[in-house]
Amino acid sequence: MIEVHDLSKRYGDQTAVDHLTFTVRPGLVTGFLGPNGAGKSTTMRLILGLDRPNSGTATIGGVAYHALREPLRKVGALLEARAVHTGRSAYNHLLCLAQSQGLPRGRVSEVLALVGLTEVARKRAGGFSLGMGQRLGIAAALLGDPQVLILDEPVNGLDPEGVLWIRNLMKALAASGKTIFVSSHLMSEMAQTADHLVVIGRGRLIADESVEAVIARSSGQSVLVRTPQPAQLAKELERANGPDTTPVTVTTAADGALMVQGMTAPEIGEKASAARVVLHELTPQRASLEEAFMELTRESVEYHAAQDLTAAPGPATTGSPSPSPTVQDAPPSAGSEAAE
């Protein structure tokens, strides 16, 4: 259990973390999301006692990190930046960490085998690829078989096999009752691993709820309707708009299909039936986690201009949620998988 209470951190006049409060519970993979510069890494560094907060507290199992005895047996951490002496071998790196916790030497070989670095254990860590370095970092995090794991962008630099391995590892560890707190900027990744999400933007908490709830909260819930009588149906549906009901909006897509928001598929079906309108298709559209995330953080993205340069429909332009995949790196199935 990680508890963050009213945590703030300023660097000069820049506020990196702004009165954050949230709890990371055991037995779940909790995703930590936010745009670049949102304060994810800083928050993790504050939890781990590497930086001193300007106010607030962060505790792990009720104890501040710096007060933990044998901390690596309780908390395993993978930081975003490398934390290995380039001139030291992977084995000796892990050995010195193990010695500080009174862990047996055998444990070093165990974690090296676990992450698949046995063959290069005696090689200098400086010569490791990004992926190997990441595996070494994960080996260090798992060294003391800790109850709590804090992983900053663990899939960074890993090949697809490594990504899958991390994903399964996190799920298995969570299933065994451990607390997993993992940051990522890849929403599709979180959609496949996280049970719960803590979303921050500009150092402030935006959402602290289940993946389901984040997607449901997004206004991207809409229904695709195909009919030979689009104009008639649109009129029927908009007639339902009253002062006390959720506003129903109907937009016409380029191919003539209708996008209906504010009404469920069964409701639309009944309206169509009552008005004797033929329907060819009636499909509820789920917003992907990507879209939900962009919706949530649109206000707090720090560098809008840089995002525009990517020439992709960025969060600033995703005014009305559309069902088509507007995000380039999200597989179209991300939304439906998150809904499982």
Binding site: R45, L48, G49, L50, D51, R52, Y65, H66, A67, L68, R69, E70, P71, L72, R73, V75, A77, L79, A81, R82, A83, V84, H85, T86, G87, R88, S89, N92, H93, L95, C96, L97, Q99, S100, Q101, G102, L103, P104, R107, E110, A113, L114, V115, G116, A140, L142, G144, D145, E161, G162, W165, N168, L169, K171, A172, L173, A175, S176
Partner: protein, 282 residues
């Protein structure tokens, strides 16, 4: 690569949370010792120090013997008064720079590589970590320093014998040889303290060498007794007196007083370094 390492295997990993017999501080010493010995550059620096110091001590002593008949009586007298200090001095002038660099890098390399974060995650109490690091490095430099000082004497004394017979049993010789190791040990700690303060390798080495090689001649430029006193109390100027067999006519401090001054400088810097280490973000 790791297709066969199933998550189940990791979940079922041995619960090794028991069996913690040893106290915390010896563990930190073991950790720091592993860190020290497992980086090739530190081991090579120490070897370079040994070879350089022994070689230069032999060379300078041999040159002195060769030139003996050409140097004037005053210089001969000065040399004879502290033969052991002169044998060591020839080697240490350059050799001690290796210790300065090594001392600074013992800590700055952790910052430059990011290792400091792994260290502080394992040992969040930063003062004991710095203490363990200092203790391990001090022990290593003391042992190597003694080996080198006795070694340099063992090589230099026979070379010098025809001109100036000097033996271990002469007054002050044993103290000077022991003192040379103590001096190098303190110099290493002094450099480590500056490394912990500056946190950047180049900056720290510049600062240490500035103290050791630049400040002393500058202080001598100060007018009158002020310059003399400032010079005498500079860390390495005071500290190296313990590596001389007799107090020189111009030395304001006795060998042990000088070593005390050096120790105070080092302790002061280490305290500031420890205080800042606890305050600063890593």
């Amino acid at each position: 690569m790791t297709a066969d390492t199933t998550p189940e295997a990791s979940a079922a990993l041995a619960d090794n949370t028991g069996a913690s017999g040893t106290a915390a501080f010896p563990r930190l010493l073991a950790m720091e010792w592993t860190k020290f010995r497992s980086v090739r550059s530190t081991v090579f620096s120490l070897l370079a120090f040994v070879v350089l110091t022994l070689g230069l001590a032999a060379l300078f002593t041999w040159l002195t013997v060769n030139q003996w008949d050409k140097i004037d009586a005053d210089q001969r007298a000065a040399y004879q008064r502290d033969a052991v200090g002169n044998i060591l001095g020839g080697g240490f002038v350059l050799g001690q720079l290796a210790i300065c660099v090594l001392g600074a890098m013992v800590i700055t390399s952790e910052y430059s590589t990011g290792m400091i974060r792994a260290s502080l995650l394992a040992v969040p109490r930063r003062t004991p970590m710095l203490a363990a690091k200092g203790l391990v490095f001090a022990a290593v430099t003391f042992v190597v320093g003694e080996v080198v000082s006795f070694g340099a004497f063992g090589i230099g004394a026979p070379i010098l014998h025809s001109k100036v017979p000097v033996s271990l049993s002469d007054h002050g010789v044993l103290r000077a040889l022991l003192g040379a190791g103590l001096y190098l040990m303190m110099l290493g700690l002094f450099a480590m303290a500056i490394g912990a303060l500056v946190r950047h390798t180049a900056g720290a080495i510049t600062a240490v060498i500035g103290f050791v090689e630049v400040l002393a001649p500058l202080a001598q430029l100060l007018p009158g007794s002020l310059g003399k006193h400032v010079h005498a109390y500079l860390p390495t100027e005071a500290g190296h007196l313990v590596a001389q067999s007799v107090q020189g006519p111009k030395d304001l401090l006795s060998p042990w007083q000088g070593y005390g001054v050096f120790s105070l400088w080092t302790a002061g810097l280490l305290i500031i370094a420890g205080w800042l280490l606890n305050r600063r973000d890593a």
